[in-house]
Amino acid sequence: MVNTWIAATLVAVIAGVVGFFVVLRGAAFVAHAIPHGAFGGAAGAVLIGVNPIAGLGVFAVGGALGIGWLGRRGRHDVATALALVLMLGLGALFLSFSVEYAAAIYSLLFGEVLGVPSDELLPIAGLGIACIAALALLYRPLMLTSITPEVAEARGVRAQRIETGFLLVVALAATMTVPVVGVLLMFSLMIGPAATAGSLTRSPRNAIGLSVLLALATVWLAVAVSYLTNLPVGFFVGTLGAVSYGCARIWTARRRGRTATA
């Protein structure tokens, strides 16, 4: 149970920070596609008898590079969709060859947060630190290219490299967290808290901080309730994410309405 809390905490911190940039850049679809597509890689890894995490990593990084490369001259959403369907298609193919292991792979969809072994905690922490360090390094160019890409270009920022770097961070975050919390949970943890924080605060730093806090609160609450009720963690994380964002929007709209009439 202690492992579960530690793993959930690590995942929440990473998802909270990475999610801020995902929401800022309007990259929610990419954050959906990379972990889901990577699921196909895990199926392939199981088929050839390798650790599924290696398969996840290869597919996540490959998908990120593919989206970055295809999205360079075309529309990002189209490149993302094509990368996703290609990876899912391969996943379906691999699954059809390995019926007896299917259950182990399906568990990746929902994760095994209630049964995390101790030896997985250190790699998660290491990859998490790597993700956050990479985002700290890319912080200013990521902000600048999100707001005024033309100015970024004029000031010598290689927007394409920054974008690919960002996609690789998302891939890294997915690889490390998916086996623990599952694909669905990772996606909802990246979007819900960051979007809620973005509508409640105005400064980027406060938004990152609040995003992490909300992700932590969501995960802790979801794990506790799931433990007590024996219902899936993913259900609670997804619901809490959507409900908190909805409440934040209603609250800011009402506050704005009051300022307007005052």
Binding site: R140, L144, I147, E150, G156, V157, G198, R202, S203, P204
Partner: protein, 286 residues
């Protein structure tokens, strides 16, 4: 005064000499030549699609010219030229982004650098001073996506000015502004050009809002340009030669209308090229 040692205040800050640009088999700019002196306020006037943004991209070093040369501060073009500040066209600032006006301005200081910004107090002072200079201090902590068009434009000007450029390029900053905001932005830019001796090159499809402050203008039509003072350039002979057909220049209550001559007897019509109106159109009369 922030003058480079090998470049005097009497030398042009920008000289564009015989620049032509071909894009996918079409000549977008033809033999463009003009100069801008330090502190000069220059309008780049032409309709949408006339080649204004392409010319900006050439000056910024983002688009190679097919022929000709561009000197900025007396030196050949480089990518990432610190002498130039740039306000691009149509910046969409999402109201959902957790970003204050001051965050946008701070990114103008060092947004291209890697890593997390340090020197918090010094940065805050620089940003506050810049916000004061563009009369934007009172909405410094507002969410930038919720500001009005004129307020956002002032924030973007501060974003471009905080790195202390000597030439400020603005691509259609008056588009989508109401008349009052338009006047405020023009007055602000004229003040900056005069007080800080920053040369301003501003593109617009309508010359009228800029008339009180323009030192010179560069008129672009179908990729060709004419430059000089307003009186020199906005004349029927000069513009007719640019457009390649007869054009009338009407002056009404201190405002200028450029109207294409009609082919038939039906009187005044508006010239069209590729479906877009060419030249300042009559709608600008208000």
């Amino acid at each position: 005064m922030n003058v480079l040692p090998d470049h005097g205040a009497d030398d042009p800050i920008l000289s564009v000499d015989g620049v032509s640009v071909w894009l996918s088999g079409r000549e977008v700019l033809h033999d463009v030549r003009f100069r801008i002196m330090p502190g000069e306020f220059t309008g780049l006037i032409g309709s949408n699609g006339a080649g204004k943004t392409t010319l900006f991209r050439v000056i910024l070093g983002l688009q190679a010219s097919s022929t000709g040369s561009v000197l900025v501060g007396g030196r050949p073009l480089t990518r990432r030229n610190p002498i130039i500040g740039y306000v691009p066209q149509k910046v969409f600032l999402d109201p959902d982004m957790p970003l204050r006006a001051r965050d946008v301005v701070a990114l103008g200081l060092d947004g291209h650098r890697l890593g997390v910004p340090l020197g918090w107090r010094r940065r805050r002072q620089a940003v506050d001073a810049m916000l004061d200079a563009v009369d934007a201090r009172h909405f410094a902590d507002a969410r930038v996506g919720n500001l009005s068009g004129g307020e956002q434009q002032r924030v973007l000007i501060a974003h471009a000015l905080i790195s202390r450029p000597r030439l400020l390029l603005l691509d259609e900053p008056l588009a989508n502004l109401d008349i009052r905001a338009e006047g405020e932005v023009v007055a602000l830019l004229a003040r900056i050009a005069r007080e800080q001796r920053i040369a301003v090159l501003i593109s617009a499809h309508d010359v009228n809002p800029l008339l009180p402050v323009l030192d010179r203008l560069v008129y672009v039509a179908s990729g060709k340009t004419a430059s000089g003072t307003t009186a020199e350039v906005i004349r029927a002979e000069v513009l007719s030669a640019l457009y390649g057909q007869h054009v009338d220049v009407l002056r009404v209550h201190g405002r200028i209308l450029v109207v294409a001559g009609a082919e038939g007897p039906s009187g005044v019509t508006f010239e069209e090229t590729d479906g877009a109106a060419v030249g300042p159109d009559i709608v600008s009369l208000r």
